[in-house]
Amino acid sequence: MNLLLLLGAPFLTAVAVLLSRNKQQVKWISLFGALVQLGLSFVLLFVYQEQRNAGNTAQMLFEQNQPLFRSLDIHFHFGVDGISVSMILLTSFVLVAGVLVSWNIEKMTKEFYFLLILLALGAYGFFISLNLFILFFFLEVSVIPKYLLIGIWGSGKKEYSANKLALMLMGGSALILVGMLGLYFTAGRSFDILTLSKTTIAGSTQNILFPLLFIGFGVFTALFPLHTWVPDGHSSAPTAGSMFLAGISMKLGGYGCLRVATYLLPEGAKEYANIIIVLSAIAILYGAFATMMQKDLKYINAYSSVSHVGFSLLGIGMLTSTAITGALLQMVSHGLMTALFFAVIGMIYDRTHTRMVNEMGGLMRVLPFITSVFFIVGLCSLGLPGLSGFVAEMTVFIGSWQVDDTFHRVATIAAAMSIVVTAVYILRAIGNTAMGPVKNENYLHFKDASWNERWAAILLVAGIVAIGITPEWLNELLRPAAEEIMNKVGGN
């Protein structure tokens, strides 16, 4: 399959959106484009599995190499492995859901959808790039749409949040940039990830470059203590913006931490693994406890995202192939789950015009569909078996437990304890909003989910359940790639 289709489809959609005449056209074109992208990513999944089943063991499939700036070794070098395929699938799921959820947006509709699709374009490009420069290019492409989405369509202290997000992400980019140039010059002027992975880089250099790259990508994925843009950014963003931010943008960072920092600098990864573990364990616990104190639904999900994303980083820090597979599972699972969470919060907010937990109550009676979805996503978040959250977290724990020294054990146990806290805040939030008497008489006139909201929810729930019930397919997709990375790092 030609991977350029994945860039061409969103690009054409964006152009068509710009050329369209009225709001109806904009919406339908965006939906059509998003569905085409969803179809493409499914095709990619099947073609990929077919190739693998046929015995194609190349590390990257469907490789393409078009020179852009030849003398600087900047190539449009694209290719996918299991990790990329699953991330692309995640992106297209969230995009379709995001387009559906924003159906009623009134203010500057055309610009909104244009930026949303631009974000998806950046994400696709990022996940298929095998050239560091191009990877960085696509990473940066997504910063400005986020800034504008929050700043223009957001709520609350949106300008502050938008600025904070843009500057912190740019800070991360600056570190990545330095690390990237460092790699380029130490490894004989090459930006190519596959070439770089074959060159040996001195341990001392790795120890300088690894923190730059890991922290740089870590900012994108809410590495403690650089997570502070997450709560503000997520809570100020419009619904679809939050879905993208938490569902996809944070995964860009995780993917970069793994594919660039850990894979290319294994010695550095070993050197700093313990620090990563400590930081992510803190993020998991701190995020969970901070969530307990929140009263705003969006803040609840934003802080719980910090906690959940911590599991991915914990898995990476453990440096076993099972833990890394778990980390990747957690990225996909959390992407779907948190997008759904924000979508549901958006649906509730559109009706109640409040996000405060204590002002709501008895929604189950008036909004049965939305509240049921809310239950499902809550249970997924606290790790109920049968849903994706359980699969991912369990795999991380199993992988972590394989490292048998006191330090890793303690970290694993500490991280596992957070599940209890998660259960507390999730059940409390759902209980307060869904159960009990209807607090406000106006609530009795609410209409349950409209067709677009239903489809968005159904799509994401389907994803969560599919991973929860039959995790093998995703596991088989991710594990070989994770093992490839671990082969490079050395160890089990």
Partner: protein, 465 residues
Amino acid sequence: MNEFLTLMKSEWLITAIIFLLLFIKIGRGLKNESLLRFIQFLLLVNFIAGFFFNKEGYLFGDMFYTSKLIVFQKSILNLAVYLISLLCADWLKKTQHLPEFFILMLSALLGMFLMISSGNLLIFYLALELATIPLAAMANFDLGKKRSSEGAMKMILSSAFSSGILLFGISMLYGATGTISFTAMPPLLDNSPLQVLSFVFLFTAFAFKLSIVPFHLWTADVYEGSPIAATSFLSVVSKGAVAFVFITALYKVFRPMEEIWYTMLVVLAIATMVIGNLFALRQQNIKRFLAFSSIAQVGFIMVGISNGDTLGITSVVYFVLVYVFSNLAAFGVASVIAESSGKENIDDYKGLYKTNPFLSWIMALALFSLAGIPPTAGFFGKLFLLTAGGVKASYWFITIAALNMIVSLYYYLRVIRAIFMDKNETPVEKINTAPTVKLGLLICGAGIVLIGLLSWVFDYIESLR
């Protein structure tokens, strides 16, 4: 004789246009509007002619040198002047002395061309003066405004001062080496204290022209006082030309002193980026704002220059090309708004998107390009400069440069935020942009988007070496 014509082609064309304008001025036959259209046509022809019959060679002994790269550098400047004539049409139409403005501008341009081609310290000094004195007159062109005269006065005084320093440096260098020829000089340089001192004086003169910190103090006042057409010429064409000469002088003439100028460049680049950025943070007037941001951009150019090799030249030329489009687009939008409403402050831009979406998008593209955000060409330009600077430099130099990109993003986002997010009771009213101005803005916008993604532009510059 034939060589005399072809090698100096760019200069002859400019001279011809200047003379034509002088005759037109005597004739007084044409109205401003049709005259401007005629001048725009001439400048377009002049720009296109830059791509034909290009040769490499020396003239007058080794006083005048040209190569394909030099002709391309001149073409970039030609393009910038053409774009200025399009973008500032609103203001140009209103001036009483339209031919004079272009005569001054083109004289300065002619000086810059000779400066780029100079192979000898005397020609260089002569050309530099020719490139400077008309600038002061241009800065004074808003005849009714006191600020304009103040800016011109500051400009002429600081230029005179830097010329004095330059002459002092040249005479000492002549005393130390016994030659003023660029080709004969490098073997004679042995880093003796006198030579180093004279080099520092020469460096200072360049620093004045490029407004490198600590010689940047004239910039903001001059930029603010001058009419926007003159400001954009100063910030784009003049900066670009001096950067080109600077890089040739360092790489070709002062190559034996590389260790000295490398240290100077690194230290001053950091100072220039940091101070330019910090001062830009608090500016209210859009012209002052762009002045300080252009100081910071010069800091980035110096990062590229510090490379000391072909990559340095390529990345600087590429960046200047990108900078021409980005900065002129920003000045173009500012000019349109200032001419129609008289508003020049960032706060006045609040709510601009509601009334003028086209201008807003162009401004946003220009600022993103200046900030180095993809997919604009500025991203590639900045990254190439950093890559060039990274060849020799240690990590902390690149880190400081990269961190400066964050600071600069902060203040560029201030303008974006005013345009797209802030509410305003009395936004700038809907402006009917004249077709020529629109054409200019579209060219700039297309340049900003395409130059980065069309890699043959970079490959072409590279092939000129």
